[in-house]
């Protein structure tokens, strides 16, 4: 993601003072997370966008690149009640809602589980290794993400401030369960985390003892830089204040058309039959999410209008996991989908 030349912290004319204050908070939040997460400014920026767009995030990457550290750092800087759960093959939906144990008197007891532990105030629910959990668990998670509610102990629980962070590594395929399309569509973004390329950052990560003890590293971060309860209102204000011009709307619709009918748009990928490449995807919800994320990005960049650059910056994280390929191409997804997205932006004219 290319950062704009606009200076951070600049007042954005035409925006309400609250939004400018929120923007200062957002930049402070990024700076705070950046103290623990080095060499990943794009990931941190995308996480910030997701928070203000009120969307859930799935991090994907190799083992040991810092996915969990990133999510913990974000949760810490965001503040508010935080809960995590590890995905395992024997995890059942009830394990998320209830904790069953035998008490001192030898009687079985059932207490609220990880999701309900903090009541309806829960701010961040962190699902580690989500692809190790069974589809039953995914389906509960689907409801939690889509409706921000669950049914337990005979009543409905609502989590108005909840964001779900999940991660999965892309190395292992054994004893894992691919997320259903519906569940993937509920994630606003699927962010790929790679090993930092900058030699200086690598040296720091390997030799600086600060990065060896993750618990202390996370504890060193200031807690609650953002007011997590206000994020919903701020997100709504951003969506209403940041303008999308007719030219941008046509541009986004052009991108959408190109993704849905790549052959008509003149997109060619070597060794791929463009007629049968796509099985579906790029749903209206997905494109809506794209515009939401682009608005937040424009606001973070200090503008009151969305530019094609904003759309491009959030396109892959928001759209790539919503494009469903024919099974024979699914194996090569890692190469095909980025190439498809790249060519979409090479073909669709702006303005």
């Amino acid at each position: 993601m290319a950062t704009s030349t606009l200076a951070a912290g600049r007042r954005v004319e035409g925006l309400a003072p609250e939004l400018n204050a929120w923007r200062d908070q957002a930049l402070a939040f990024e700076a705070e997370v950046g103290r623990a997460v080095v060499g990943q400014p794009e990931v941190v920026r995308l996480m910030t966008i997701a928070l203000f767009a009120r969307g859930h995030v799935l991090l994907e990457g190799d083992v040991g690149v810092g996915k969990t550290t990133i999510l913990r750092a974000v949760a810490r800087a965001l503040g508010g009640p935080f809960e995590r759960i590890e995905g395992t093959v024997d995890l059942m939906p009830t394990d998320m809602l209830y904790t069953a144990y035998v008490d001192d008197d030898g009687k079985p007891r059932v207490e609220p589980g990880p999701v309900l532990h903090h009541g309806e105030d829960l701010a961040v629910f962190f699902f580690n290794e989500i692809n190790r959990a069974r589809p039953q668990v995914h389906s509960l998670l689907l409801r939690l993400m889509a409706e921000r509610s669950v049914t337990a102990f005979g009543k409905e629980w609502f989590f108005p401030h909840l964001v779900v962070f999940a991660d999965r590594n892309r190395v292992e395929k054994e004893e894992t369960f691919e997320l259903p399309a519906a569940a993937r569509d509920r994630f606003l973004m699927e962010i790929a985390v790679d090993t930092p390329a900058d030699p200086e950052v690598r040296r720091q990560l390997v030799f600086d003892p600060r990065f060896h003890d993750v618990d202390r590293l996370i504890e060193s971060l200031r807690e609650g830089v953002l007011d997590h309860k206000g994020l919903g209102d701020a997100g709504r204000a951003i969506q209403q204040s940041i303008a999308t011009a007719p030219a941008l709307e046509s541009y986004v619709l052009g991108l959408w058309d190109a993704v849905r009918a790549p052959k008509t748009a003149g997109i060619e990928i070597p060794n791929v039959d463009m007629d049968r490449l796509l099985q579906g995807g790029a749903s209206p919800r997905g494109v809506g999410a794209l515009v939401r994320a682009a608005r937040v990005r424009a606001w973070l960049e200090g503008r009151d209008m969305v530019l094609p650059e904003d759309v491009r910056a959030v396109f892959n994280p928001v759209m790539a996991h919503r494009i469903f390929l024919d099974p024979i191409y699914e194996v090569r997804r890692d190469r095909i989908v980025p190439e498809l997205c790249r060519q979409v932006f090479e073909r669709v004219p702006a303005p």
Binding site: A245, L248, D304, M305, L307, E309, R312, F345, P349, A350
Partner: protein, 301 residues
């Protein structure tokens, strides 16, 4: 009586110069016989005109057909000073005779009617340059049998003109034409040069110059035309944030960086910020100039 004698003397005195206005008229020519059909001969006529008289050039005969059979081919007049203050004229006239004589006979070159003038209205005409010569047939009238040497000879065989220089020139011209065609094909990106990098800015500069001054809609279209030229040059859709990389890759355009950035800024504000074209500060003139500069940079790169 005395009066009559005086008048006579006066008349004599006045007549004497008049009589002496043209004198010493002579004509000389070649031998006056043996002149045959087609022969050229020259007559020289000389005379002295006393001062203040001079030869009137208008009285000289014109070259061309003089009589039925004689042409005057050339006429030269030379002047020289004559003793006694006059001018000596020598007229060299070249004649050709076309008289086909059937028998030996005398032909005459007519005399020229010449005039001398004194510049004050005085004029004196005289005749000179007549000549007679004897001409005869080229051969006996009745051909002697068996004598073929006087028959018409066959036409001369036309000379064979060498075509080599013309062929060489044609070859060179064909080569030059082919080269020019290749150059034209290259400049127009016709096959086989259609794969060479085209010149999108050159094309855009023409369109922008036409459209930009035609009002708001034209200005917007010109902006889009220039965008497409940037896209074609970059090989992809170029957005404002990509400018740094674009300019680093194509240093020829870096000289116009300020103008390019102003263009992208104006485009953003108009297309995505809803600003009026006038509010962007990018006038039609500036846009046309930028397009022209970029086309120049493109040619230089």
């Amino acid at each position: 009586m005395r009066r009559a004698a005086l008048a006579f003397a006066l008349a004599l005195a006045m007549a004497a110069p008049a009589a002496a206005q043209v004198r010493d008229v002579r004509t000389s020519g070649p031998k006056p016989f043996g002149v045959l059909l087609g022969d050229v001969f020259t007559l020289r006529t000389s005379f002295v005109a006393d001062a203040p008289y001079t030869l009137d050039p208008a009285s000289l005969p014109k070259t061309g057909a003089l009589t039925y059979a004689i042409d005057l081919r050339r006429l030269d007049v030379t002047e020289s000073a004559a003793p006694g203050g006059g001018v000596r004229y020598e007229i060299t006239a070249e004649y050709q005779t076309f008289y086909s004589a059937l028998e030996t006979r005398t032909e005459t070159v007519p005399q020229m009617s010449l005039s001398v003038v004194d510049g004050k209205g005085g004029r004196k005409e005289f005749k000179a340059g007549g000549w007679a010569y004897i001409t005869s047939p080229l051969r006996p009238l009745i051909t002697t049998s068996g004598e073929t040497q006087y028959d018409l000879r066959p036409d001369a065989v036309p000379p064979r003109i060498s075509l080599r220089p013309a062929q060489t020139a044609a070859l060179w011209s064909a080569g030059a034409a082919l080269l020019a065609l290749l150059l034209l094909a290259w400049s127009r990106a016709w096959p086989p040069f259609h794969t060479r990098p085209s010149r999108p800015f050159t094309r855009a500069a023409r369109v922008v110059a036409k459209r930009a001054p035609t009002g708001e809609a034209g200005w917007r279209e010109a902006l889009i035309d220039l965008h497409r030229a940037f896209d074609a040059t970059a090989g992809k859709r170029l957005l404002g944030d990509d400018l740094g990389a674009f300019l680093a890759q194509r240093p020829a355009f870096a000289r116009h960086e300020a103008g390019i950035r102003a263009f992208f800024d104006a485009s953003r504000r108009v297309f995505f910020g809803g600003a009026a074209p006038a509010a962007t500060g990018l006038s039609a003139d500036a846009l046309t100039r930028l397009a022209r500069d970029l086309a120049g940079a493109e040619r230089a790169s």
